[in-house]
Amino acid sequence: GPVPPSIGKEEEDLAKNYLKKLYNMKEEHTRSARSTDHSVSEMSEKLREMQEFFGLKVTGTLDSETLEVMKKPRCGVPDVAA
């Protein structure tokens, strides 16, 4: 089957920014291994929320279809209650 294109740094930043603004994902404050693990799992959790809301395949990982939805023009109000 076709191999999905790999996600670049720029697109990962876009996704993080999207989840911070619209899914209340917290900023990463430190660079310790433990907090990085935490931020990865939080991002995965937020991705799941977003994928579920948009009816995408819920994987918790950033794939090309999820990115496609993130890049669509949209309203700036969060989809989930703060």
Binding site: P73, D79, A81
Partner: protein
């Protein structure tokens, strides 16, 4: 639909709005008209009434701003975030901000139609959150739809009426019945009759009204989208669809017009007429179409008859129309949708799907055999 948690709603049905400034993209009259119509969308179905004021503080303050505009939620330049609005409340509550780095338009499908963006934002200003229904106005991503014939979708009507109740002042005019609010089709509806089905670059596409589902074969999940969010030039409520893999085109047919798309883009020279594909002029509407990979022919169904079109020579085959039952023994009803997958032909008649292979009817299945419920 979803409403704002905490019962944020206006305590009065008499609300004021003020347009603080204008975008240079449109004339002031066009902005005024777009805003007025966007508020009317909600006033038509609720007891809410909107009065414009020209000075002082209104409940809904409307402004066109860019980047950091002092509310803690900066805009991001062209595209991306188009606008935002605050839930009902005093001060900034109810206010709607539009990103003036966008190109807003009055009626065309280029740029972002201000009426559609504003109507969505006013939904927030009245207490609605984003909806997960892809056909709803409150769905978070923008997609163009026909503004002239816009009717607030049923999901949004249900949401706003859950907060404010219905409009009790609607005059009943038997001469001019109100258009019905569009309901997003449900894949779990056992009576669902699909408009059309086609393969598209390995995925199955199921059309119904203004939306379609896309599904990867053998997947248990499908995505639902507005047709216009993928193909802004395409019509809603299509009659038939088929893919020509050799040309990498998908054809959508409605009435006597045929649209062809290469990816998201309309192919050059389209839309064309049905007769330009070689169908006789007496054929005003087809009910289904499919591309037969084995023979390289496209079959056009007109109820219980069908024509055959040779994709190689681009000509209709002689000896048609034939009765569907002659080519597909056991298929006696009208064919409403059709497609081919892995060498098997699937003809839909209403909510049932008839599977043909090896020259005979193999199984009678339901919609959800391919379209996950």
């Amino acid at each position: 639909y979803a409403v704002v948690p905490g019962n944020y709603k206006w305590k009065t049905n008499q609300l004021t709005y003020r347009i603080e400034n204008y975008t240079p993209d449109m004339s002031q009259a066009e902005v005024d008209s777009s805003i007025e119509r966007a508020l009317k969308v909600w006033a038509d179905v609720t007891p809410l009434r909107f009065t414009r004021i020209y000075s002082g503080v209104a409940d809904i303050m409307i402004s066109f701003v860019i980047r950091d505009h002092g509310d803690g939620y900066p805009f991001d330049g062209p595209n991306g975030f188009l606008a935002h609005a605050f839930f009902p409340g005093t001060g900034i509550g109810g206010d709607a901000h539009f990103d003036d780095d966008e190109s807003f338009t009055f009626s065309s499908s280029n740029g972002y139609n201000l009426f559609l963006v504003a109507a969505h934002e006013f939904g927030h200003a009245l207490g609605l959150e984003h909806s997960g229904d892809p056909g709803a106005l409150m769905y978070p991503t923008y997609s163009f739809r026909d503004v002239k014939t816009f009717v607030l979708p049923q999901d949004d009507v249900n949401g706003i009426q859950a907060i404010y109740g219905p409009n009790t002042e609607v005059p009943v005019d038997p001469e001019e019945p109100k258009p019905t609010a569009p309901v997003t089709p449900n894949a779990c509806d056992p009576k669902l009759v699909l408009d059309a089905v086609t393969m598209l670059r390995g995925e199955m596409i199921f059309f119904k009204n203004g939306l379609f589902w896309r599904n990867q074969p053998q997947s248990y999940e499908s995505e639902q989208h507005l047709i216009k969010s993928f193909w802004p030039q395409a019509p809603d409520n299509i009659d038939a669809a088929y893919e020509s893999p050799s040309d990498d085109l998908v054809y959508l047919i409605k009435g006597q017009k045929v649209w062809a798309f290469y990816g998201y883009d309309i192919a050059k020279g389209f839309p064309k007429t049905l007769s330009s594909m070689g169908l006789p002029p007496k054929v005003k509407k087809i009910s289904a179409a499919l591309y037969d990979q084995e023979t390289g022919k496209t079959l056009f169904f007109v109820n219980d008859r069908y024509y055959s079109y040779d994709e190689t020579t681009k000509k209709m085959d002689k000896g048609y129309p034939k009765r569907v039952e002659d080519g597909f023994p056991g298929m006696t009803g009208k064919v409403t949708a059709a497609f081919q997958y892995r060498g098997f032909t699937y003809l839909y008649s209403g909510p049932r799907m008839f599977e043909f292979g090896y020259g005979r009817l193999l199984r009678v299945l339901n919609n959800n055999y391919f379209l996950p419920c």
